[in-house]
């Protein structure tokens, strides 16, 4: 994987994904090693982010690397009308690897084609967010001990949620994954993504009520439903509360159930869930550091 950009989760084979998860495990055991001390890494965030940017920068710092960059395009020459091509070409001259988030879809692929240094996509619009996908996989593997034979429920906005799309595609590579898709009718998983499940010979089931499925799954992957996704405001008002997870809904769930959420959450998981041992979303965010350490070290070829 040395010097290879990571733009889309489809850029990695199943073996390569598992290799990153193995490395992440080793970094979790020993997160502070100065193996990137000779490297300068650019962190270009053309739109705001809390977790992704800070966990990348934390990972770089914990490995002894130096970070340059910006956290908002208004503090870069983009605000003067500079093209992405020129920004990427310039930053490539100053760094060994570029981590980038950009609001336009396909921006990271384009950057990877013009930059002489590898690019890690930290989110390109609604398209791809492969490092989130890998940290979700790591969180599932860590809590369930395997990525095979799992019952996984995805809840909320399955139409526009890029993390859901990538994770469904990745988990379709594993044995006997059983997908439970819970969403309002307007926000169902697109058929182009369901095709990955079907092509892999796996099964999916669709529901509109979380109660139908909550007691039989190993992973509950919650997502935020945004009001602006609905063409009909009445419909939003009608469904919004059916996708809120509360602590009392967890009483008959499986012992090993874990609740994941890519965060930020707004109101789809009430605070009383946070203290439940099945809540895992903050540890999930922490796992992002180890996975990103694994990716940086692997792409820069230091391990």
């Amino acid at each position: 994987m040395k010097n290879r950009s990571l733009v889309s989760i489809n850029d990695y084979s199943k073996e390569e994904m598992l290799h990153i998860l193995e490395l992440a495990k080793a970094f979790e055991a020993n997160p502070r090693q100065k193996i990137l001390k000779d490297f300068v890494i650019a962190s270009l965030f053309f739109e705001p982010s809390t977790r992704t940017r800070l966990s990348f920068e934390s990972a770089i710092n914990q490995l002894g690397g130096r970070v340059i960059g910006f956290s908002d395009s208004s503090s870069s020459s983009t605000s003067k009308g500079e093209s992405l091509r020129d920004t990427i070409q310039t930053v490539s001259l100053y760094s060994d690897l570029i981590v980038m988030r950009h609001p336009l879809e396909g921006s990271a692929r384009f950057a990877s084609e013009i930059a002489p240094v590898p690019i890690i996509n930290a989110g390109d619009g609604a398209n791809q967010h492969p490092t989130q996908c890998l940290l979700d996989m790591y969180s599932i593997m860590k809590t369930q001990g395997t990525l095979d034979n799992l019952d996984i429920a995805f809840v909320g906005d399955l139409k526009f949620g890029r993390t859901v799309h990538s994770l469904v595609i990745a988990l379709s590579l594993f044995k006997n994954t059983n997908f439970h898709l819970v969403s309002p009718v307007e926000l169902k998983l697109p058929s182009s993504i369901k095709k990955f499940i079907v092509d892999a010979g796996l099964k999916y089931h669709q529901y509109t009520d979380i109660q139908e499925v909550i007691n039989k799954v190993d992973i509950l992957y919650m997502t935020r439903i945004q009001r602006e996704r609905f063409s009909d405001a009445m419909e939003y008002e009608r469904v919004k509360n059916s996708y809120v997870l509360k602590a009392d809904m967890l009483s008959n769930t499986k012992e090993k159930l874990k609740i994941l959420h890519p965060l930020p959450r707004v109101n789809e998981i009430t605070e009383d869930v946070d203290s439940n041992k099945k809540a895992y979303y903050f540890q999930q965010a922490k796992n992002g550091v180890f996975v990103r350490e694994a990716l940086l070290a692997s792409i820069l070829g230091v391990i």
């Binding site: 093209s83 992405l84 091509r85 609001p103 336009l104 879809e105 396909g106 791809q128």
Partner: protein
Amino acid sequence: MENKRELKVSAIDNGTVIDHIPQGAVLRVMKILNLEDFTDQIYFGANLESKKYGKKGIIKVSGRFFKPEEINKISLVAPTATVIEIRNYEVVNKLQVDIPDEVVGFVKCFNPKCITNHEKMTTYFSVIDKEDLKLHCHYCEKNTKKENIIFI
């Protein structure tokens, strides 16, 4: 025999005949091939009787020959077209257009948030469905359907 009949009508000695263009696609084919600015003779007909297709269109361009990549561009709107090259009133080459596996640089991505609609760059699609014509953008990974195809 049919060739002779065509030649009487169009009377081009050297050039290209694009036949069997689907009904309604003649003007789009002319636009894709940049024939709007062409200064030599062009004959075109639409809604002509065709035994095979019912109605068809035809374009005859004098003194102009097309490269295979130009011909493949029209395949997206005129997959049934036949391209006939004429030199000295003789048919020297006849070929069927072919929908390519990749479409590079002449179709716009329908996704307004795609990077290709914001940077000076070449668009790049793989054709994932030749029958129903569906193009997969190499950059934003969204699919552009037949009815949304816009030529650059």
